[in-house]
C-alpha cells in the first residue's frame, strides 16, 4: 500500500543548529503511529518539519504530493491537522469560536455546523462550556478542545504533539480512547508524538523511536512494548 506520509532524508535546522539528521519513516493510511524518544530527540521538530514550521531539507510527501516548500497553511489545507505542543488554543476566544476556527478553511456551512455537533457528542464537556473563554478551561478540557478543533478540519492525517503533557493519567486514558475511536471510525491516520511511551504503545499499532535526530528503531507497537532491551535503553522503563 502506498504510504500516506513518506519522509526521506529529512534534515531540520534551528538557525545553525541541526536537529534532524536524515530522518526516514512512512505512515500507512489508516494507521495509528507513535513517535517516541527522550526530550530533545527531535520528536517535535519532526512534526514541525512536516508542517514547514522549521527550516528543513529532504523529502516529505503526503499522498504523493511534496510538502517541502509549501506554506504551513497550505499544508494544513491538504488535510493535515496538527495539534502542537502547548495546544495552541485561542485562549481569548470561546470554545465554539475555537471549533469554528478549526473549520475556517472549509466552505460547506452545513457540514461545519453538523461537525460541531459531532464534536459536542465526542466531548460533552465542551458542549457544556461552549460559550466560555477557552483560556478558562482546565488542561484536560483544553486538550480535548485542541483535538476537536483539529478534527473540524476533517483531516486525513492528524499530528499530535505530546497530548498527554500535564494531564492526569485517567484523563490521558480517556483521551487516547477517543483518539483510537477517531482512528477506527473516522478513518483518520494519526501520528502521536509522546514522551509517555507506555500509554502510547498501548494505543498505537506502529511505533518509531527517535534519538538525537535519527530513527533508531521501528516496528509494531506491541513488539517494541514487549522488547525489554528497547524499553530500557530508549524508553526508560
Amino acid at each position: 500500500m502506498t504510504a500516506m506520509l513518506d519522509i526521506k532524508d529529512l534534515r531540520a535546522y534551528y538557525g545553525q543548529v541541526q536537529a534532524l539528521h536524515g530522518l526516514e519513516f512512512h505512515l500507512k493510511e489508516g494507521s495509528m503511529t507513535t513517535l517516541l524518544g527522550a526530550n530533545g530527540a527531535g520528536k517535535t521538530t519532526t512534526l514541525r518539519a512536516i508542517c514547514n514550521m522549521v527550516r528543513s531539507t529532504g523529502t516529505i510527501e503526503f499522498e504523493g504530493k511534496p510538502l517541502l516548500g509549501k506554506t504551513t497553511e497550505n499544508i494544513v489545507r491538504l488535510g493535515i491537522a496538527h495539534v502542537p505542543q502547548g495546544r495552541g488554543t485561542f485562549t481569548n476566544m470561546t470554545v465554539e469560536e475555537n471549533l469554528q476556527l478549526g473549520a475556517i478553511s472549509r466552505s460547506d456551512k452545513a457540514g461545519i455546523v453538523s461537525d460541531i455537533e459531532r464534536m459536542y457528542e465526542h466531548f460533552p464537556v465542551l458542549k457544556q462550556r461552549h460559550t466560555q473563554q477557552a483560556g478558562t478551561l482546565s488542561g484536560g478540557e483544553q486538550q480535548m478542545l485542541a483535538v476537536a478543533r483539529a478534527l473540524m478540519l476533517r483531516p486525513r492525517l492528524m499530528l499530535l504533539d505530546e497530548p498527554s503533557f500535564g494531564l492526569a493519567p485517567l484523563i490521558v486514558r480517556d483521551l487516547f480512547k477517543i483518539l483510537g475511536k477517531i482512528n477506527r471510525d473516522d478513518k483518520v491516520t494519526i501520528l502521536v508524538v509522546e514522551q509517555n511511551a507506555q500509554l502510547a504503545l498501548e494505543l498505537a499499532d506502529t511505533a518509531y523511536v527517535i534519538e538525537t535526530g535519527r530513527i533508531v528503531m521501528s516496528g509494531k507497537a506491541s513488539d517494541i512494548a514487549n522488547n525489554e532491551d528497547v524499553r530500557k535503553s530508549y524508553l526508560g522503563y
Partner: protein, 338 residues
Amino acid sequence: MSAVQETVTDAPAIDAVPKRAMTLGAGTSIAVLLILLVVPLFVKNFVVFQLTTVLIYGIAVLALNILTGGSGQFSLGQSAFYALGAYISAILIEHAGMNYALTLPISGIVCFAFGFLFGLPALRLSGIYLALATFALATAMPQFLKLGALEYWTGGVQGLVVTKPDAPFGLPVSQDVWLYYFTLAISIAIYVASINLLRSRSGRAMMAIRDNEIAASAMGINISLYKTLAFGVSAGITGVAGGLGAIAVQFVAPDSYTIQLAIALFLGMVVGGVGWLPGSIVGAAFIVFVPNIAESVSKGLSGAVFGVLLFVVIFLVPHGARQVALVSQHLVGKLKRS
C-alpha cells in the same frame, strides 16, 4: 473585563546581543580609534564641528541602546533628558560662570536623578504604554522650557546663547578642534564604562529583565531597582550628551529639543543595531548626515528622500550596522581559513 492568559514563550521583542558580539574586536576598535583621532587634521573646521555632533549624538544613541537594548524598555523621551542636560550646562555657564567641563558631570547627575524618578512610575508600563508615556515627556519638555515663570533662567522662547570655550592652556588649536577632542575623550570614557556596565552583574541583571522579566524576578533579581537604574543611567548619559551639545552648538532653545529629536535618536539606535553599542556612532552618523543628503537631492521632497533612504537601509540590514559587522566578520573568518 475578562482575564486573558498569555504564555510568555514568544521571543522577546528585542533580540539579545551575545556578550562576545557586544563590542568590536580589538583590532577593529584600534583601527576605528585611530581614524577618529586623526580625522580632524584633514578636514575643515565645519566638518570637524559636524563630526563633534556625530559623537554627541552617538553618546545619546548609546544611552538609548543601554535602555532599550540593555534593559528592554522603550523610550521616545530621550530628547527631554537631552534638553535638560543642555539647559543645565547652559545655565551654569551663562548664569553662574562655571567652567564648561564641570557642568557636564552636574548635568549627568541631575539627569540621572530625573531619569531614575521617571523610571519609578514607568515600572507599571511596558511596550506601547511606556512609549506613550515617554512620548508625553518628550512633548512636554519644550513647553516646560518656554514657561514664563522660568524665563529669567531659560531665556524663554529665544533660549540662551552659550559661550564657546577656547582650547585650554593656550594650545594652538581652533575651538572646533579642541571641542572635538574633548568630546572624543568623553565619548570613549562613556563607551568603555557602558560596555563594562553591560558586562557586569548589573548589566546581566538588566538583560535578564529584557529577555524575560518574570523569569528574572523568579531568580531574585530586583526588577524595580534595575529598571529604574537603567532609566537613570540612560538619562544621565543623555544629559551629558545634551550638555556637550549645548557647548558645541553654542546655544539652547526649547524648539531644538522636540519629539523630532527623540525620534531621530530612536532611528539612530535602529540603524546602528539595537543593543549593539559600537553601532551607536553609525546611527548617529546616519541621523546627522542623511537628512542633509536628502535635502541636497531635493529640497521639496527632502522628507520623502530621507524616508526612502531609511527604507533602503532597513531593507538591506534590518538588524542595523551590527548585521554589517557580523557579515564582515564571517567574510574575514572565511578569508582567514582559505
